[in-house]
Each structure stands twice: as structure tokens, then as C-alpha cells.
């Protein structure tokens, strides 16, 4: 297969898997136990992987109050700006709901942390976090968002906020909105022909003659 044909075939497989090289169907005594097109996932999954993901997606971990609190917090962490939308715009709350079911080790720190947050707000403002004023919310976030500046009695809040910030960042920058914002330029067929010249110049670097001579080059046939 020529390179451009293989790229064409690849583009096909990206939308409907299983179209490439079907002529080379091997002799088999058992059927493959997976089907890329079945169920919820666009990536190739085994039936039991699909079943597990499906089960996690139908379960509900956070109650409505907890989820509403998460939504407020993650948009404080990653708000909308001139470049892109907010964490909730990117569906980060859904990612967090899924990931705590996939990784149960996150469940107690998040649930307990949310409760700790409400405890603080009830004590100081006689209100749960989401019913506090925006300035009251931000004052508490300020007290837990900077680990090295935080008061010792805020340690529990710091641990909670560190985890929530991590999951928010991952959820956002692995979303379609976040990836575009970040400027990740890969995940597509291309030819790597080295660092762009202006970037080399920016860092005062260059390829030596041997590297230029011996590295892969392309002609019409690839």
C-alpha cells in the first residue's frame, strides 16, 4: 500500500473501524471477543470493559447538593475567559462524577471535603457553601487555595482543594474545549521533519550536518 493510500485507509478506520486490509482475513478458530462499535465507547473495548463503564455511567455517586457545590467550585477554579469556556462548559463535573466511581479512592476525600466546606460555611455564615454570597465563597477559597499560605486549621480544606483542582485541570484540558485552548497540535497523520526553524533560532539550537544528512526525508512515494 502506498503511503497516501494508507492514510486514506486510516481516515476511513477513524470513522468506521474494520475497513482496512479485510482481504487478509486470517484463519481463526474463535471469534474476536470485542467489537469496537458496540455500546458507549468509540474506542475498541472488550465486552466486560464496556459493561463496567456502562454500569459506572448509570450509577450516581454525588447527590444533587454535592454536585451543585462541585459545579460552583470548578468554575471558580477554571472560569470562562477570552480564550475558552469554563470547567462546567467543558463538562468537567460529569468527568468528576465518573472518575470517583472509576477510582473509589477519590470518593471519601471529595465527599468529606465538600462536607468540611459546608461545615465551615455553616459555622461562619449560617449557610451552606452554595448559599453563601460570592464574596463569602471566595474568601473561603482564598483560605484553602494556597497551600503554603494557608492557616494550619485550613489543612483539611487545602487537601480537598488540591485534589479538586487537579481533577478540574485534567477534566478541562482533556476535553475538546480545553485541548483546543491548550493548543495541542498533534493526534493527526503528518510528517515529523524536525523542530521548526524559528523555534530552533529562538533557543539558539540547530541540527548538525550529520543529523540533517542521515535523518528521514520524503519523496513522492513517502
Amino acid at each position: 500500500m502506498k503511503r497516501r493510500d494508507s492514510l486514506k485507509a486510516l481516515a476511513l478506520t477513524a470513522i468506521s473501524s474494520g475497513t482496512l486490509l479485510q482481504s487478509c482475513e486470517p484463519k481463526q478458530t474463535a471469534a474476536p471477543s470485542s467489537d469496537a462499535k458496540a455500546g458507549i465507547s468509540s474506542i475498541d473495548r472488550h465486552p466486560f470493559e464496556l459493561a463496567r463503564d456502562q454500569k459506572l455511567l448509570t450509577e450516581k455517586f454525588f447527590d444533587d447538593h454535592e454536585m451543585n457545590t462541585i459545579k460552583v467550585l470548578i468554575d471558580i477554579i477554571i472560569p470562562k475567559d477570552e480564550a475558552s469556556g469554563s470547567a462546567t462548559d467543558a463538562g468537567v463535573h460529569d468527568f468528576i462524577e465518573f472518575i470517583v466511581k472509576d477510582m473509589p479512592r477519590h470518593q471519601l476525600p471529595l465527599r468529606g471535603g465538600l462536607k468540611w466546606l459546608d461545615n465551615q460555611c455553616l459555622k461562619n455564615h449560617n449557610n451552606v457553601f452554595i448559599n453563601c454570597s460570592s464574596s463569602q465563597q471566595l474568601a473561603l477559597v482564598d483560605a484553602i487555595a494556597y497551600p503554603e499560605k494557608a492557616a494550619p486549621e485550613m489543612k483539611q480544606g487545602v487537601a480537598f482543594f488540591n485534589l479538586l483542582r487537579d481533577l478540574t485541570a485534567t477534566g478541562f484540558f482533556t476535553s475538546e474545549i480545553g485541548l483546543k485552548d491548550l493548543g495541542y497540535a498533534g493526534n493527526k497523520p503528518n510528517r515529523w521533519d524536525g523542530v521548526p526553524q524559528d523555534v530552533l533560532e529562538q533557543y539558539g539550537l540547530s541540527y548538525d550536518e550529520r543529523t540533517l544528512k542521515e535523518s528521514v526525508k520524503w519523496d513522492d512515494e513517502g
Binding site: A30, P32, D44, D102, T170, R191, E214, V216
Partner: protein, 579 residues
């Protein structure tokens, strides 16, 4: 349902257990020669052109690419399996550690590996002659070299001719140019006397035949390649072998025992089918084990008979012994000069474009044997874990606007920090040679533990010695020097004596070999120099088991070369009617 053993009526010339590098190569060579071959594989069929995870986006995984117990290297990784398999336990002698990675699928662990394809050098076959430790191989580089050449031609590997004595050059395709962080690494490491040369990976930078496409630089070899632009046994060996019409592949078939007759000759293999848990038998004139070093040893030890009371091919009592994995230690951090860097696609091939082969003389060091260094970094695709621990970074460096903030935070300014600091990471890991020792071994668990198939399981006994710990210390010192020299800041992996310098647990590097080692003396080895069992002439082992020593190279290319060599020998035995 009546339980009875189901015997396949066909008499095969050869039955191969396992479809990874060793089994795939044997199947390819033996079927080309016209022999009727049956491969039995414990896992399901797999074809990267159909079982696609390549070119998917992070959000197509609900866990954003994080690992699961089924795919410990991430949700997009091609390899099924891991260090723990449900219903297939293994045990340890108390106080020892070994993590056993198994990949039950067509192609086995070749679907996962980093495609690093290094030849063993002349010294690597003669370790004992050089430092008095371990044992020499019964063969030398000159015996294997023609087969390395053939493997290069058949499968394809890129690299550069360097003329380094113990890092033999191959028949290379052109290598890709280094990425930006790799240029920084090259500059600083070279300045410290650590050589940095183009990596040697079995990825097609040029098309080599009409069955496989060339690399299109998505950096995702670990996901399996839809155009077969890299090597995996399933796509490059098993698939073409099926075209000869001389190959049957039975998948979801867990080998239980090698069958022998009263004279001790192998007559076939029995296996348990995963689907119905019934026992089946395959008859063959020759049996080739390629189930992985430990799995083949287990199979031999579980194949006891009157003729082989200590397990098959084990009159030496050596089966399972001399188990050794590569050493590994790693650290990484950030290159502050790359903050706020320009965006472009730097995916490149799946893995590093440069590496460092071993460069020192052990006579001047306090440990034997060397290591090579692997590198990574740059603007890779974000996945689960992206942005974790930003509080350790954005409090230490001024942001894009030159403002020094307290670490952590929230809001628009934090959002920009993630963009600003992205793409500045750099990391490195050593992969070194451990000395093979009789006291590191696997055996059949003496307390009677069985797996879900009713097959007795392995118990491991493995401990690192001072040699490996001192080697890891040297890795750490070297890595810290390289990082310092290029102005990088170490943010993880720095390790001292209390953690054995970050030395990974045995098994973690997934290069375990040595359990059926080759030799000329039947009292001290399991197979001869053609991978043929001393005790059973129609039985061969072609995985990593026959390795006498591991070298500081990844084992796959040598498994392929030796399996090809053993297959030529098997064909010769058929011609001479010795089997």
C-alpha cells in the same frame, strides 16, 4: 454435560505455545517452510487495524486515558493484561518481590512494548569472561548476527551507524530528527561525556513492503498501529503466516501441560479453553514453547511424567532459576526555558528519538554491567494526570506576565498557568543489566495454589543485590547531572539509599528472562544452543527463557533472532528426518 478430553484429530508438525515475539517468529518461519503449525494463544484475537484505539481523543475515554486493572498503561493502550489478572494469581516467598506482567492476547506483550530494538553486543554474550559473574552464553555475537540482519530486513528498524563495539549497528532505516527537548538533552549529556545517539526502534520511517504502511508520526505505537507501521507479532508475523494456509491459531486457549510418551518424547500440548473450560489436546511432532519466560517455565514444571519426574526438561533442576529482569530507575522535571513555548505538532514516532547507550568501563566502577538511558518530554497529548500538582510549580516560577504568585490558586490566572507551563516537562530512565543468580527463581507454589483453570501457579523468590542497587545509584547521579547541566529542575523521582535509589521492583521493567537458560552442559542448563531441550529433543523454548544474561538491551530483538535461528534448526531436523 459429559466431561471428556477433546482430541484434535489433526497431527501437526509443530505446536507453538504463545504468539508473542518468539512464538510469532517461529510460526512465520516454520509455515514459510511448509510445515503444518498450530499456535495456541491464551488470550483473544487482536488486530490493530480493527481493534482501534489509535488517533482517538482523550475525551473518547471516560477516564481520559487513565489506566485500569485491565489496561494498566492507560485506557488507550493496546495491551490487555497487567501485573494482576483476575483468577490467575501468583505467590511470593515472604520478604521477596516480583511483579509478573502478563498480556493474554494475540501478539502478547509485543502489543505494548516501546519498540526499542537493540542488538546484544559481543560482550553481552560473554559476561563471565569479562567480569567473572554469571555465565557465558554457549553462542556469541557472530552466531546471532546473521539473524539480527534478517530480522532487520523482515521487520524494519530505524537507527544510525555509530560503530560502537558493544552496540552493533543494524540494517537501519533512517531515524527521525530529535525533538526540542531531545536537542537540549543531547547538548548537555554530550557535554558530560554521555553519548546521545538516534534511538533504534522498529517503526517504519520508510515503507518496506506492500503489507505495511509507513509511520505517520502520531506517537501512539503503544495503541497498536492501524497501518502496521510498527512491529507487533500479531500484525507482522502471525498475520502473514496465516496466508501460507499452513497455520491454525487457536485463541482463548490456556496451555496446561506438554504431553509426552513413555519414552519421554513430546507428543503435543493440552490446553483449557477459556470459553467452556474444557480440556483439549493438540498432537504435534515438535512442541515449541514461547509463552514468556516464566509461563514456559511453569508449563515445564507442570508437565511431570514418569519419564520426567522433576518436570519436563528439568533433570538439571535449573528450570525457573536464574530469573532476572532489567533494573530501572527514573526521574524527571521541567525545563524552565520551555515555559510559554510555541505550539506545533511534535508527536513524532511512538517513543524517544534519541537515547544513550552504555558508555563506561565497569572496571572503574563499583558495580558490574551497564545501563542505557531512555528520554521523554515535550508537548504530548494531555491525558489523566494533566496539571496535577500545579501548586508545586506556579509558586516557584513567575507566570507569563512576570508575576510571582503563591503556589496553587484558582481563576483566570491559574488557567493561564496550565497553558504557560505545558510542554516543559522532561524525564529519563535507566534500563540496566542485573546479574543472573540461581537464588532468584520461580517455582510451582508449594502450598497448592491453583488458578481458575485448575493449573498450579508460580511462586516467586527474587531479591536485588548490591550490584543492582549501586547501578541504580549511578543512574540517579547521572540523571541529576544531566538535568542540572541543561538547567532543568527535578520535580520527581530523586531517590536516595532509603529507597534503593528508586530501583524498581523486579518484574516492573517487563524484561524478565533466564528461566530456561541455554548452555552446553545439560547439568547446568535447560536447552542447548539451538533452544532445544537437552532432555527432550523435540521440545524447544524460544521466548526469553533461554537467555543466559539479559544485557542492558531490551530483549525483543534477540528473542526474534534466536527464535528464527531455532526455527531454521527445526526445519533442518525435519529435513534430516530426526523428528
Amino acid at each position: 454435560m459429559p466431561f471428556q478430553i477433546k482430541e484434535n484429530p489433526q497431527q501437526y508438525d509443530v505446536c507453538i505455545v504463545g504468539s508473542g515475539a518468539g512464538g510469532g517468529m517461529a510460526a512465520y518461519i516454520l509455515t514459510q517452510a511448509g510445515l503444518k503449525v498450530c499456535v495456541i494463544e491464551a488470550g483473544p484475537w487482536y488486530d490493530p487495524a480493527k481493534n482501534v484505539t489509535q488517533l482517538k481523543w482523550p475525551w473518547e475515554s471516560p477516564r481520559r486515558g487513565a489506566g485500569t486493572s485491565f489496561r494498566p498503561f492507560g485506557d488507550f493502550d493496546a495491551a490487555y493484561g497487567g501485573w494482576e489478572l483476575e483468577g490467575e494469581p501468583y505467590t511470593h516467598v515472604p520478604g521477596t518481590q516480583f511483579d509478573w506482567f502478563r498480556s493474554r492476547m494475540l501478539g502478547g506483550r509485543t502489543n505494548h512494548w516501546g519498540r526499542i530494538s537493540l542488538r546484544f553486543g559481543p560482550k553481552d554474550f560473554k559476561g563471565k569472561s569479562h567480569d567473572g559473574l554469571g555465565e557465558d552464553w554457549p553462542i556469541g555475537y557472530e552466531d546471532v548476527s546473521p539473524y539480527y540482519d534478517k530480522v532487520d530486513d523482515l521487520i524494519g528498524v530505524f537507527g544510525s551507524k555509530e560503530g560502537i563495539y558493544n552496540e552493533p549497528d543494524g540494517k537501519f532505516l533512517p531515524p527521525p530528527k530529535p525533538r526540542l527537548h531531545e536537542l537540549f538533552i543531547k547538548k548537555s549529556a554530550t557535554g558530560l561525556g554521555v553519548p546521545v545517539i538516534p534511538s533504534r526502534l522498529s517503526i517504519l520511517t520508510k515503507k518496506i513492503n506492500d503489507d505495511r504502511g509507513a509511520c505517520f508520526y502520531c506517537s501512539q505505537c503503544n495503541r497498536g498501529c492501524t497501518v502496521y507501521g510498527d512491529f507487533s507479532s500479531s500484525s507482522c508475523l502471525i498475520k502473514p503466516a496465516t496466508k501460507t494456509n499452513n497455520l491454525d491459531v487457536i485463541v482463548n486457549a490456556m496451555a496446561r501441560e506438554v504431553l509426552t510418551d513413555a519414552s519421554g518424547k513430546a507428543t503435543g500440548v493440552s490446553y483449557i479453553a477459556n470459553d467452556d473450560l474444557q480440556e483439549y489436546r493438540i498432537k504435534a511432532k515438535v512442541v515449541v514453547l514461547a509463552a514468556s519466560a516464566c509461563e514456559s517455565a511453569r508449563l515445564l514444571l507442570n508437565s511431570k511424567s514418569q519419564a520426567h519426574p522433576n518436570g519436563l526438561a528439568n533433570s538439571s533442576n535449573v528450570v525457573g532459576k536464574y530469573l532476572h529482569d532489567s533494573t530501572g530507575s527514573a526521574l524527571g522535571g521541567i525545563l524552565p526555558q520551555l515555559f510559554g513555548r510555541k505550539r506545533y505538532n511534535e508527536d513524532g514516532v511512538g517513543g524517544m528519538h534519541v537515547y544513550s547507550p552504555w558508555w563506561l568501563d565497569n572496571k572503574k566502577l563499583d558495580f558490574p554491567r551497564g545501563y542505557h538511558i531512555e528520554y521523554w518530554g515535550g508537548m504530548g497529548m494531555p491525558g489523566y494526570g494533566f496539571g496535577f500538582g500545579i501548586q508545586h510549580l506556579n509558586g516557584r516560577y513567575p507566570d507569563r506576565n512576570g508575576q510571582q504568585k503563591a503556589g496553587g490558586g484558582y481563576g483566570a490566572s491559574l488557567k493561564d498557568d496550565y497553558r504557560y507551563f505545558w510542554g516543559a516537562s522532561v524525564g529519563m530512565a535507566g534500563r540496566g543489566e542485573a546479574v543472573a543468580r540461581e537464588t532468584n527463581y520461580c517455582e510451582i507454589d508449594p502450598n497448592g495454589v491453583v488458578d481458575k483453570y485448575g493449573i498450579p501457579v508460580l511462586r516467586f523468590n527474587y531479591q536485588w543485590s548490591d550490584y543492582e542497587i549501586k547501578q541504580a545509584k549511578h543512574m540517579q547521579e547521572t540523571f541529576q547531572e544531566i538535568m542540572h547541566k541543561m538547567g532543568a529542575v527535578i520535580t520527581w523521582g530523586k531517590a536516595g539509599a532509603e529507597t534503593n535509589y528508586g530501583l524498581e521492583a523486579p518484574g516492573r521493567i517487563i524484561h524478565e528472562v533466564g528461566t530456561t537458560r541455554m548452555g552446553n552442559d545439560p547439568k547446568k542448563s535447560v536447552v542447548n544452543k539451538f533452544n532445544q531441550a537437552h532432555d527432550c529433543k523435540n521440545l524447544f523454548v524460544v521466548d526469553g527463557g533461554p537467555f543466559v544474561s539479559q544485557a542492558d538491551k531490551n530483549p525483543t530483538w534477540t528473542i526474534l533472532a534466536l527464535s528464527w535461528r531455532a526455527s531454521d534448526y527445526i526445519i533442518e531436523q525435519f529435513k534430516q528426518q530426526n523428528v
